[in-house]
């Protein structure tokens, strides 16, 4: 092979698909091997250049800062959280009302002693006003005096 390698042949040499004659020419021809070296050097510089940028980025933003998923993946859980919060706010009052034990009336009989019960009944019958109104009566002037 006396002529220099064509562009297609050079490309085949670069990707490792050259036949034996092309490979031999690439080894022996100064011009063609220099052409291949130039390309290899350009690609190596390209790789090195990108690697430097990546190294700078890794230094700037350490891996620990990016371990969480990006916003696109967290959107769904965020919506779920918002919906769950809304449901809790709506349902909570009903749940609390349903679980609240009924308070016994203030005047409910709790005594078991029959004498105590009779005393309480007598006290209630002897009131001039109902028990809840007694505090109001304290503020009024005594008309009987």
């Amino acid at each position: 092979m006396n002529r220099h390698l064509s562009e297609d042949q050079i490309a085949r040499c670069i990707v490792g698909e050259a036949d034996s004659a092309e490979a031999q020419h690439a080894r022996e021809c100064v011009e063609c091997s220099a052409d291949l070296d130039r390309f290899s050097r350009s690609v190596a510089l390209f790789r090195s250049g990108i690697q430097k940028q990546i190294n700078a980025r890794i230094t700037l933003v350490p891996t620990s800062a990016v371990s969480k998923p990006s916003g696109a993946d967290t959107q769904t859980p965020r919506w779920v959280l918002v919906a769950a919060a809304a449901v809790v706010l709506v349902v909570l009052p009903f749940v609390r009302a349903g679980n609240k034990p009924e308070a016994p009336p203030e005047d409910a009989f709790t005594e078991t002693d029959p004498d105590a019960v009779m005393n309480r009944i007598n006290l209630d019958l002897g009131r001039t006003v109902p028990a809840p109104m007694e505090p109001l009566m304290l503020g009024l002037p005594d008309l009987n005096r």
């Binding site: 562009e7 490309a11 990707v15 350009s42 510089l45 090195s48 990108i50 430097k52 891996t63 969480k68």
Partner: protein, 189 residues
């Protein structure tokens, strides 16, 4: 247990896949640079790459029970990353912004290299920018195959596993990608 051919990483076909995910934080720390590198070179946007890298690990974590260990973790993660890139670049929103911006190349940020002279540094920067621009002109599939081969150093069978293409198809895309990049580099020089 047999080793894969991926260089720079001890990529093993594991006998007990669950072991790989016992310490997921460590796994993220180990593979994040690779995943981020591929996503950045594919999407040409560091913030977007970071976001998709998180999605990649999140998806991996969610589907870790489906990892059977028939490929390396690196290949498995790259497969997820490739799918994310494909889904994203096919989205209407991405197409819209790509059209609005009228460019998908962006620029490589400058980096100081004090070990070389300013002239040499400028030359290196120009070469890197040329390859960066050239990869931007490739089709998505060609770019993915090219990056997996020359940036991530995967071999043809690993690229086939990662992309779901046949090995012959990978070779064809790789050949076209290299030819396209050389054409662009030749035009820029």
């Amino acid at each position: 247990m047999r080793s894969a051919t991926t260089s720079g990483f001890v990529a093993l076909h594991v006998e007990n896949p669950a072991v790989e995910f016992e310490n997921f934080d460590r796994l993220v720390e180990q593979y994040r640079p690779r995943v981020l590198r591929f996503l950045f070179a594919s999407l040409r946007d560091m913030d977007l790459a970071e976001s998709l890298a998180q999605d990649c690990f999140w998806n991996a974590y969610k589907s870790r029970s489906t990892f059977r260990g028939d490929c390396s973790v690196n290949t498995w993660l790259m497969r997820i990353a490739v799918n994310l890139v494909r889904n994203h670049t096919q989205s209407r929103r991405f197409q819209f912004w790509k059209k609005i911006q009228n460019t998908d190349n962006g620029e490589m940020r400058e980096w100081p290299d004090h070990s070389v002279s300013p002239e040499e540094s400028a030359s290196i920067r120009q070469q890197v920018q040329s390859v960066w621009d050239a990869t931007g002109s490739l089709s998505n599939r060609q770019r993915t195959v090219f990056l997996l081969r020359y940036l991530e150093d995967l071999d043809i069978s690993e690229i086939a596993q990662t992309t779901g293409l046949t090995e012959n198809s990978v070779k064809v895309h790789l050949f076209r990608a290299v030819r396209g990049i050389r054409k662009r580099l030749g035009a820029s020089q």
